[in-house]
Symmetry: C2
Subunit: 330 residues, 2 copies
């Protein structure tokens, strides 16, 4: 049985966690009562998501607290981005093996920085004793009835992706093999793994434009496969259109590794989305704050093909994707 954190240390921890994120006028009662009380604006739907990160499963054991704090929120915000939702409030559940106040201070700083940047307030949660685990529930808003879903893709739609998929997996491989900072491109990959950026601006810009959307957590092919399954369609990827960054090319030992990272690397937290044919991408490019690339199209059928050949996500994943999340959705 785990021991609760010691008193003095725990008071410090409680202080670090008591005021995280933005000040918001719609928070009527924050941390400190039995529940938080907030007021949602009229005419909005609420998007609710929860992701839990377990030490050694969802992030490497020994990852600095600031990176864990940033990551825990980024992963959850990415789910809101995929719905087109604007983040508002969060509940934090932090399970700690011991009262390491300095680690918690760094964790709080990483989480707080991203929360303030996106205007989110952490309004409650709890802290418990046990193996290091970070859970966040996030709540965001949407215009009524406009949530982006996985299920809206139709044959004839264009398939797009944001950013440079595979870079996070390559960065993790760099960290694990100890070559992290040997060159500029590899350091870029490592940064991409360490500081995922949720695509909230892009998600919001996709409202009313995209027919379907999903965030990339388990790899490009696997996540597009989920979007196709939910929509009852197939995806044809065009190999020449897949975005390959100079850093990814520099980091890959060979074409096989490059392909595996690109198609099956996890933890990118980019968005894959479908646009009805002929949609003007210019407003999306202007709003996204990141590169977006057209990578293929949606057709009748099932599954994901690359240049006409079926892509087997499971066999692609290989040994270097250790951050496998057996998640079940929201």
């Amino acid at each position: 049985m785990a021991n609760p954190p010691a008193g003095g240390e725990f008071e410090l921890i409680a202080r670090y966690l008591s005021h995280l994120g933005a000040e918001r006028n719609d928070v009527l009662l924050g941390v400190g009562d039995d529940a938080a009380v907030v007021r949602a604006p009229p005419g909005r739907d609420l998007a609710l998501a929860h992701d839990t990160l377990v030490d050694g499963v969802h992030f490497p054991h020994g990852m600095p607290g600031e990176q864990v704090g940033h990551r825990a929120l980024a992963v959850n915000l990415s789910d809101l981005a995929a719905m087109g939702a604007r983040p508002a409030w969060a509940l934090l559940s932090l399970t700690l093996p011991c009262g390491d106040a300095e680690w918690v201070r760094a964790f709080a700083s990483g989480l707080d920085g991203l929360a303030r940047k996106v205007g989110l307030a952490v309004v409650g949660g709890d802290t418990t004793s046990g193996p290091l685990t970070v859970g966040l529930s996030v709540v965001g808003w949407l215009p009524t009835g406009q949530a982006l879903r996985r299920s809206g893709a139709r044959a004839g739609d264009e398939l797009w992706v944001s950013g440079w998929p595979g870079e996070a997996a390559a960065g993790l491989a760099c960290i694990q093999s100890g070559v992290a900072s040997q060159s500029v491109p590899l350091a870029e990959l490592v940064e991409r793994f360490r500081w995922p950026q949720p695509r909230l601006e892009l998600g919001a810009a996709l409202l009313g434009r995209a027919s379907a959307c999903i965030d990339l957590s388990d790899g490009l092919a696997a996540d597009i496969g989920k979007l196709c399954q939910a929509s009852g369609v197939a995806a044809d990827l065009d190999g020449r259109s897949l975005p390959v960054s100079a850093a990814l090319r520099a980091g890959a030992a060979d074409d096989r590794q490059l392909r595996r990272w690109l198609l099956a690397g996890g933890d990118d937290y980019e968005l894959a989305f479908t646009l009805p044919a002929g949609t003007d991408p210019a407003p999306l490019r202007a709003a996204a704050g990141c590169a977006i690339h057209r990578i293929g199209r949606i057709v009748e059928g099932a599954g994901v093909r690359l240049d006409g050949e079926p892509v087997d996500s499971a066999s692609l994943r290989g040994y270097d994707h250790f951050l496998a999340d057996p998640g079940r959705g929201a």
Copy 2:
């Protein structure tokens, strides 16, 4: 590093967790997308709470899945009850050491039963690999501006409590000492520990009547102490008015143990609340669905006194309250 649950077993687990709780018309999109989408009614505030239960910390290792599922939801609903909120939606985070589908089936059944009873829908969450931990975020509604707070108690108010505080701690002691089913009163105590009942009806009835409210998770004296601290007042408990059930009396070895259970036993999930002097308790008694007792009054000052003597919650807690939760509010 923990291994993800095996494929087939995990699919079973995902199925058990995909439809938990009540069907609700205000759930536009449930489990299976990046986030759930729900629609709150107009003119309501939202109450948000999260509690995490760690195996061996917040429930005894080896507790049957059905009891853990019930308990995880009951503890969270108790937080909503303390605000006067009506439960609506929840996100479930389940961390499992291995893919034990049979345990998850029982867990899901326990959670589902209570969720249906109170009309709550589990709309999302995630399942991860790691040491057994159950987190739930719950969302409920309140009439605008009416949330019950800890901070509203004023000198002159009456202090009340629901149910029979101390019974849960006595039940846990019975389980731990192996005398669980030797007699009817002891079996009653064990049931009280195993199946906590959130006081949602009472909480709703307190809206517009109570000046302050808190749920009892850490013991009567400690939780009333928190209410007093938040309100800037003191509490005078009247020893002859404290409710002592026949079962609690039967279970206690001596008066010292009885007193410790009554004042410092945790995990009761009853409500302590304050009423302006002269408030008619009849409507509360009619609505509560449980006994309520007037146990003292609120006075100027700080701290909790019993028959004029200060109560030291920390020294009372003793060795048998192992379910200590270093929580930090909501």
